[in-house]
Symmetry: C2
Subunit: 206 residues, 2 copies
DNA sequence: ACCTGAACACCGTTCAAGT
DNA sequence: ACCTGAACACCGTTCAAGT
């Protein structure tokens, strides 16, 4: 009969709210999409008042900033191309890993590269995580080119490679390109890479 | 003294509201960004009640759908690479035109490729305009490859080229890559294209 | 046919107050 | 220190009503 008795959402406060909010947000993100993820809904899901989140995150932007940072960390982890025989293989494998990550976490990927952070303002954590992911890419490209990571050629080539892969992932995720029904990520990435090669074989001839 | 006298917003109704709303929306889009463009604000700007728009567009999605379609039409128009000496030049010029369009209309570009239309649902007009823009790209690639537009090789190559250019534009627009201060669109596109070439010169050696 | 105002169900965010 | 409820300024959208 005491006031302690749980009332279906387990009373007053929960303990470590911050990570719980993050987890709930991550889960809801893939359900409702990056633009429609609301603080109020996330709070309610955790079983806490709508304003409780503001004691752990400055605002919505900071919450989704953490989400995006998490995404970049996971992406950076999956990039390393374990056992690749040669440069071509390493590049292809990185491209494939990148593409598969985006396909597996479409809403998170949209958030990571979406307009929410297009203005300069974004959490430091996010900026760091993003740079680290790009570093991973540069490392791979440096190996392929057999140059030092800091060389400007490496930077340019990494940037170009990132553009290509990001573009492919982005177009598929936003359903601008319809991903062919009967195919695997691997086959699709390979086939499109063939297309790119063909475009440049012509260029070399001129 | 009649009721006809204009009251600063010119009385009851305006005439051709639909295009006026579109125009106002287009203008506000670049100011507030794709996610924050609101029907209410657009309506107020035109000087009309918040609900008036619903007599001309089914909902917000349809309004911004028209906006995006307009974007694809303009993009398709700017792609044709008038006088290009050879294939490489044509490709580069298309890439540059595409990139410049995105840089000149960042919010519109974000809208065109943003999550708003990632679910299957989008206006027919938008779908058509998008396909037409892609057709333009295929035509250019077909010329470069000296093949028929309908060939699957052309489709794949166009898709790859689109991915690359879209990726580059998208990363710059979302400020993932910081566009170098002292540079022009032309120099930036050329430099990055060099990077891509370098990446593939290695591949050819394997 | 075209537009308005009130209303509903949502948002993000602030602030005084409670434990 | 951590959480809540009421409140404010916004949304999209519906609906009955006005011209």
């Amino acid at each position: 009969m005491t006031k302690h008795s749980p009332r279906s959402r387990d009373a007053y406060h929960v303990g470590n709210l911050a990570p719980q909010l993050l987890k709930a947000a991550r889960h809801m993100l893939e359900q409702v999409g990056p633009t429609k993820l609301s603080l109020r809904a996330v709070s309610e899901r955790v079983g806490v008042s709508a304003t409780a989140a503001y004691h752990h995150y400055a605002n919505r932007a900071e919450l989704i900033g953490h989400l995006a940072a998490q995404g970049f960390r996971e992406l950076a982890q999956e990039l390393p191309t374990h056992g690749s025989e040669n440069g071509l293989q390493a590049l292809r494998n990185a491209c494939l890993a990148y593409f598969s990550f985006a396909r597996a976490n479409p809403a998170l990927y949209q958030l990571m590269f979406g307009p929410e952070f297009a203005d300069g303002q974004m959490p430091l954590e996010l900026h760091g995580a993003r740079d680290q992911a790009f570093s991973e890419l540069r490392r791979i490209v440096a190996e392929v080119l057999e140059l030092d990571m800091e060389q400007p050629e490496v930077r340019r080539a990494a940037l170009a490679g990132w553009s290509y892969t990001h573009g492919l992932a982005s177009l598929v995720i936003h359903r601008v390109l319809i991903f062919p029904a009967g195919t695997t990520d691997q086959r699709f990435v390979d086939s499109t890479l063939q297309g790119l090669l063909q475009l440049f074989q012509v260029e070399k001839g001129t």
